[in-house]
Amino acid sequence: MVALSIGEKYFIQGGIAQDLRGDGRKRLTPRPIYVETGVISQSNGSARVRMGATEVIASVKAELGRPSALHPDKGKVSIYVDCSPTAAPTFEGRGGEELSTELSVALQRCLLGGKSGSGAGIDLSSLAIVEGKICWDLYIEGLVVSSDGNLLDALGAAIKAALSNTGIPRVNVAAGASGDEQPEVDVSDEEFLQFDTSKVPVIVTLTKVGRHYIVDATSEEESQMSSAVSISVNRRGNICGLTKRGGAGLDSSVILDMISVAQSISEQLINTLDSQIAAAEAGEDES
């Protein structure tokens, strides 16, 4: 929890009302975003994203597994976020656990789409190897290194960057296995398949402070919020998921207004993120 004096609270609220925030930004200006890929050599793909003082790491690990009985032609993806107490003392114990589940559920909702798999940012059928027998299990893990507000957007961006950094080994299935036998597979350690991330949405959180809402709030600004709406938008401008935080109610017209604002912001965000990812990948190749 951020402890603020009454004066500081007025300063934040008044600044937002006048469209000039404490760090000189306007209400709908996000902080600059920095992306670094390939930061963890142990995983199949990883990325570090920094927005102001908020810093998160996402890692993608692929393991061979068995598809579920309900969807034999699809792989499995699990998303988990860890809020380490090293980032903030409040993350210790139950507080961190609650935030972790909240972020994990929100990310799952935003990235995995509906139960039938439509609208998912990650194409699960591309993870299948042998129908009903072998598939890839993707373990996407996020870590909050340093927290200064807007964790969900940063984690969403980091996962998108990590996925585009992910190489999934090519698998050769030995022919001849029939019936119930588990086919033998040969995992190549030289050939990697690039993951298609064009459909992965970005997350835009609009935080309502007073009568206005702001994008990319810092933790001081978040402490003054009445409610926040996180909207994930894909490249086509469609909504892929929406979560509301904070207790205060919102008028339905305000929510629709927020959705349209999020759509226009997401367009810029996708473009900046793409160029940042491309730059990070190029930088990694050189070194």
Binding site: L70, E102, G113, S118, C240, L242, K244, L250, S252, I255
Partner: protein, 257 residues
Amino acid sequence: MAGQAGGTPSTYSPSPTTRKTKSLILRNDDVDWVRTDGREFHQCRPAFFKTGAVNAAAGSAYAEFGNTKVIVSVFGPRESKKAMMYSDIGRLNCNVSYTTFATSVRGQGSDHKEFSSMLHKALEGAIILESFPKTTVDVFALVLESGGSDLPVVISCASLALADAGIMMYDLVASVSVSCLGKNLVIDPVLEEESYQDGSLMLTCMPSRYEVTQLTITGEWSTPKINEGMQICLDACAKLATIMRECLKGPDSALEE
């Protein structure tokens, strides 16, 4: 949409719990399919509410929407635990759990952490927490049988239980979800429809104040579709709230007679 209202809103004719067989696959382009329980797309299941289901609780409610059966009890306001910091507003503690026999596979997920936090978020905006400082209100929800749209039923039932316990609220909270199946929007989906859905939208609101306290969307939605889905949910919530209000009035009006 007035499905649950019908002629006499607060009565409920028990439908035989038939053992469901795997129905035909709901194909995306197929517009003419019929819902398994014969409802129209924009028709809710008949709703049944009853307050005072648990004697030991300060307030409680039982809700039955088709096969979804939920019981919620509210305890408190009572003194917050000693370890908790002083707070000049009340605390709300929510817990949603499933019985081991609630789902077709035994003992799956007895504790739903994300449901608990969703219930908390849906209710906290409606409760006047300033009215009971230094104390905690516990809301315990138990899903006896899961038949689809569990969370919306839990939320509506919990707000009724809170009202039964005499906790001050701005308004009753009603919640409804819609599933997106292909081109169609299907309100109040059953378990089977939920497992085939392309996307879902759950809306929780305070109908008299026309305020949305919680909204979650999964799957890919275009803006006009979200518009449509929200409108359907808001209408249904308003109707659900009248049924809930009838239920609260029920015993008193009976006494007057």
